[in-house]
Amino acid sequence: MDFTGIVTDNQSMVFSIAVRFLRDREGAAELAQDVFLQLYEKLSWIESPAHATAWLRRAICHRCIDETRKRRLRPRVGLDAVPEPATESRNPDLLLNERLRRMVAELPESARMVVLLRYQEDLDPMDIAGMLNMPIGTVKSHLHRSLAIMRGRLEKQEICK
């Protein structure tokens, strides 16, 4: 297997999951590199590029959840976690995107990962359930509840404006 090719093809996926989940670019890059190194040690066991992608996606999900639990014990604040100064953005789309990303980041760990895998990775609930070792009903309820929370918060913010 061509390891360089695997890194090139999957770096964006692995880094994006980590950065959206942790909201800390430096920590996310470190964790993502670590996951690639883990894969490198198991390279002989990887059968195809698709297998590598699935392995990396699963590994980064679980490592992110573990990392958040560790950080709860020894907090580490990334630049992304610092609230931005309250200025009006010229581009309302960018502002909405940022608001949504923050809302996702504030969801509980499992729900956050489910939302990321659904909307960033475009996985269906069945695949998410397999990846996170979770019953499909739990995945669907996380999605439903998370969307309801975010919708409610967006509506509240609109009213407050």
Binding site: Q11, F15, R20, Y40, L96, R101, Q120
Partner: protein, 107 residues
């Protein structure tokens, strides 16, 4: 507003930092590959075998020594018994001889 679409747009994948792949590849030179692990195993194998041999000897040797000593004590006991029996036989023969001589005198 369609929240599903907005989320897809907001959570679009973003590019990894510029030096990300180079960093990973640099770190792989320090990481252990399956082949380097096999090499390590080949280097460590004689030491592991030697250690296993020492452990086996340490387990087997005391019981072998104990068994050897037990057999040696048995052999010594048997020799002592044979010596005692032969002494007894000689003494019995002497006693028998005396008795025979006494009965001849009386007759």
């Amino acid at each position: 507003m369609n929240l599903d679409e907005e989320l897809i747009a907001a959570l679009r994948r973003e590019a990894a930092p510029e030096n990300f792949a180079a960093g990973v590849l640099a770190k792989t030179t320090l990481a252990k590959t399956p082949s380097s692990r096999a090499r390590d195993w080949a280097f460590r194998r004689p030491a592991i075998f030697a250690l296993a041999a020492v452990l086996i000897l340490a387990l087997v040797l005391p019981s072998a020594i104990y068994e050897y000593r037990r057999q040696q004590r048995g052999r010594e006991a048997r020799d002592q018994l044979i010596a005692a029996l032969s002494i007894t036989r000689v003494q019995l023969q002497q006693v028998q001889e005396k008795i025979r001589r006494n009965t001849r005198h009386r007759i």
